[in-house]
């Protein structure tokens, strides 16, 4: 039944997905790098060579070496270990942002797309939310909620909700008119069951693609908020806070801002490569070219 819908994840076998990934080397590279970063973050206590908060003033501002792979910061803390632990927070912010924006976005998008009476009102709300630049709305929300990790995640989740909602609405509008939904209606299937069993199941592909990009944008946005001093507390090591505190040592200890920056670029680049490949894979028009 799902196969009768708009482009759907189930339309591609696992074998075909791997085949396409293998042919798109950039996407494969993205996936590999992402898996390595996630594993490094999960197993941070084993991967890190030092305790991330261990200060050794005698070792402050040391350049990269065999002992401190990425050098040390202004308190003599090992930068490699801080970048690994920072990845935990930055990636968690990304994942939680994806969760919040997907839950809210799917809720709004399905309501707008499935129930005609709600469409105009909800679409206006979605349009209004999208007329604020992401970072500006995030700053305003964090200003109101107060700077903390939870509030940063909440703000970013709200900021990216309309992106999901818009895509979900568009897909729901298509799915709503498909024969199997009409058939379910004719059989007297309750609306909630149609929404869960038929609509939501067929929304997996567009949500997956959007989630990958939101993950990437959230990592960038968190770093931006931390840099501006309106994000998480500077004591919490995230890639953004490490660069933010390291900028005052630019020219003297450039490695403090270079390595966390490379970590951000690698994570975001990997996610974008992966998102691009997923989108092409799940779009029947583009799939032929792969």
């Amino acid at each position: 039944m799902a196969g009768a819908s708009a482009p759907s994840a189930s339309a591609l076998s696992k074998g075909r997905i791997w085949q396409i990934l293998w042919r798109r080397k950039a996407a494969l590279l993205g996936l590999t790098l992402l898996v390595i970063m996630v594993l490094a973050a999960i197993f941070a206590p084993w991967v890190a060579t030092h305790k991330p908060d261990a200060m050794r003033i005698a070792q402050r501002l040391k350049p990269p070496s065999g002992v401190n792979f990425f050098g040390t910061d202004e308190f003599g803390r090992d930068l490699f270990s801080r970048v690994i632990y920072g990845g935990r927070v930055s990636l968690t912010v990304g994942i939680l942002t994806v969760c919040i924006s997907c839950v809210l976005g799917v809720f709004l998008g399905v309501l707008a797309g499935f129930f005609k009476r709600l469409d105009t009102g909800l679409t206006r709300i979605i349009d209004a939310m999208m007329s604020f630049p992401d970072i500006l709305l995030a700053i305003a929300l964090v200003a109101v909620l107060g700077p903390s990790l939870v509030n940063v995640v909440t703000a970013l989740g709200i900021v990216y909700t309309p992106r999901v909602a818009r895509i979900v609405r568009a897909s729901t509008l298509v799915i709503r008119e498909l024969p199997f939904v009409e058939a379910a209606r004719a059989l007297g299937t309750p609306t909630w069951r149609i929404l869960i069993m038929h609509v939501l199941r067929n929304l997996t592909s567009p949500i997956m693609v959007q989630a990958t990009f939101i993950f990437a944008y959230a990592i960038l946005a968190e770093a931006g908020l931390s840099f501006l001093g309106v994000g998480v507390s500077p004591e919490t090591p995230t890639w953004g806070t490490i660069i933010s505190t390291g900028q005052q040592y630019a020219g003297k200890a450039d490695w403090i801002m270079i390595f966390p920056g490379i970590a951000i670029v690698t994570a975001v680049f990997s996610l974008q490569m992966l998102g691009d490949a997923l989108r092409d894979m799940l779009d029947p028009k583009l799939r032929k070219d792969l």
Binding site: D127, F132, L136, G261
Partner: protein
């Protein structure tokens, strides 16, 4: 056509009303007393009561909302608590660097993004296509403040080609002020060029498959003429859309770059307002920036009529 414009204008007003409502709600959901938060922990009870009275916070919420909308329609965005001047005046004073930076950044982005997208599309599937697409994606993966820091270190500190930060000394001439924007514009333009590259590539690929392109080639026209005169001109609409939207987003979205380079623009004003809890400024800036975005969207749609004679409303 007139009915289309009227319909779009009405839609725009509805969206702006929703924007205003959202901004009103955002500022009112502050946990605790907004007046106390704005004045800080050292404020006396009398100060807080005075500010509550001044901002009308003692009135019922719907009265506050009505007053807020009434002021908004009259173009009154309130008064900044810390700058002690109307928010509209504060925004107007900060508009020049933001407008100029946006304009310069978009020129850089178009100069990089459009040729890169065309080259990518023409060489579809080849090394040049993959290299261009990957580079564009790499640019879009960089945090603007990080790229800014690296560029300052290299181009300003090491090579001394550009000023490190700021907008020139007081009384600096236009070109001196604009000179301070070159490096931030390159940073923003480079990052924004990724989206333009992607859209140009996609739009060119669509057009390159059209019959008239094949006919042009069959007639023996040079590849350059086919690509630039036949394909590119017809691929312009989506490119214009993305250029316009990027410009609208940069007007309020260059917050980090403005702060990073110490530019006294609207973004910098918002960040200072956030750090000082100057809610009238946050509120006013959000409404103006969202309004500009909605307006640019409308103008882009209307521009289609001029660019593509096939478009009729």
């Amino acid at each position: 056509m007139l009915s289309y414009v009227l319909r779009r204008l009405t839609g725009m007003l509805v969206v702006m009303a929703v924007v205003a409502t959202m901004v009103f709600i955002i500022v009112r959901v502050v946990p605790g007393d907004p007046a106390a938060i704005m004045l800080g922990p050292d404020a006396t009870a009398a100060d807080v009561a005075g500010l509550r009275l001044k901002l009308g916070l003692d009135e019922p919420l719907f009265v506050q909302f009505g007053q807020f909308l009434f002021d908004l329609v009259r173009g009154d965005l309130g008064r900044s608590i810390f700058l002690d001047r109307p928010v509209t005046q504060a925004l107007a004073e900060r508009a020049e660097p933001t407008l100029l930076l946006t304009l310069m950044a978009i020129i850089v982005a178009v100069l990089i993004g459009v040729p890169a997208g065309v080259i990518s599309a023409v060489n579809r599937g080849r090394f040049l296509d993959q290299a261009t697409s990957s580079l564009a994606m790499l640019a879009a993966s960089m945090p603007s403040f990080w790229l800014g820091l690296l560029f300052i270190q290299f181009f300003s500190v090491k090579l001394g080609w550009f000023p490190v930060a700021g907008y020139g000394p007081p009384g600096a001439g236009f070109f001196e002020r604009a000179g301070h924007l070159v490096l931030p514009a390159i940073v923003l333009g480079l990052i924004s060029s990724a989206l333009i590259t992607r859209f140009t590539r996609a739009s060119m690929l669509d057009v390159l498959g059209e019959d008239y392109v094949r006919t042009g080639r069959a007639k023996g026209l040079g590849e350059g003429v086919v690509i630039l005169k036949h394909a590119f001109r017809n691929a312009l609409i989506p490119i214009l859309t993305v250029v316009g939207l990027t410009m609208a987003l940069l007007l309020g979205g260059a917050v980090v770059t403005e702060t990073m380079f110490g530019l006294p623009g609207v973004g910098n004003l918002v960040v200072s307002a956030v750090l000082r809890r100057d809610y009238p400024v946050i509120q006013g800036a959000l409404i103006v920036i969202a309004g500009v975005y909605v307006l640019v969207n409308l103008l882009i749609d209307l521009a289609y009529l001029l660019v593509d004679p096939r478009v009729r409303y």
